[in-house]
Symmetry: C2
Subunit: 129 residues, 2 copies
DNA sequence: TGAACTGTATTATAATATATAATACAGACA
DNA sequence: TGTCTGTATTATATATTATAATACAGTTCA
């Protein structure tokens, strides 16, 4: 896979793994139904324990980002807006929290909106293969 | 103080305490140089250990949100944009990450901008007393 | 002055979270 | 039939979180 772990990062390893794979999925680098490395394979690549990978995969499956098939492998889940209704609320709540702090730090509304436009320009709607 | 801990929350207690006090500060409910409860006092109110409060306060002081004076108490720090330069980068990075996921979940740019406008309308520039 | 309060520090202990290690089982596949 | 999958279990080690019990130095105020 195309990411590395950062051992100076204070987050648990399985959280870093989740974040990296999520980024690959939402950025469209990994396509729907594309296979991701097996638990053992990725463990070897990152030189960490397979159980840690398994925990990350299990979480990602719960969040609806991947699915696993016994004896076949793990794959990117096809997009399904309704798959995780709670996640949207969570993200909106986090978004508001961050914006509130930016207000406090005197970041202008224009600057904040500029960031939104930037992200949407860069990652705007793409075909999901 | 005007908040409670949620023991179902998976975050550590000291993180919840930090988040709650930070919210009180950035929302302007707590004013500059206003005194916040003493370590022991808040510990008693929340029925948790004083050391846990102390850890939260220490972190908040490091982040420039409060300051403590030996034998006198802990107080809300006057706003200082330059106090924590790294924090802005961190927030911007988190903001982009959340927006990227919202893009993936088919939330429109208009919806995202509406959230920004809402937060700025609600918490827009106020006098810092 | 002295009692009661402050922040801060230290040491010990317990509980929980995280990570590793070693196996095992059942199904897919060539 | 090997070799690969996901998944599960048990054990162990380490780190993080939380509690508990004290202690010290400085303030506030009756």
């Amino acid at each position: 896979m195309m990411f590395q772990l950062d051992f100076r990062d204070k987050r648990p390893l399985y959280e870093q793994i989740k974040a990296n794979i999520k980024e690959l999925i939402i950025s469209g680098i990994l396509k729907s139904d594309e296979r991701i490395p097996s638990v053992r394979e990725l463990a070897q690549t990152l030189t960490i324990n397979p159980n840690t990978i398994q925990k990350a995969y299990k979480d990602l499956e719960t969040e609806g980002l991947i699915y696993s098939v016994r004896a076949k492998g793990s794959f990117v889940a096809p997009f399904n807006a309704a798959a995780n209704p709670a996640r949207l609320d969570e993200l909106m709540s986090e978004l508001e929290k961050i914006l509130a702090e930016l207000v406090y730090l005197n970041v202008s509304q224009e600057q904040a909106i500029a960031v939104v436009r930037n992200v949407y320009e860069k990652r705007g709607v793409k075909a999901r293969d």
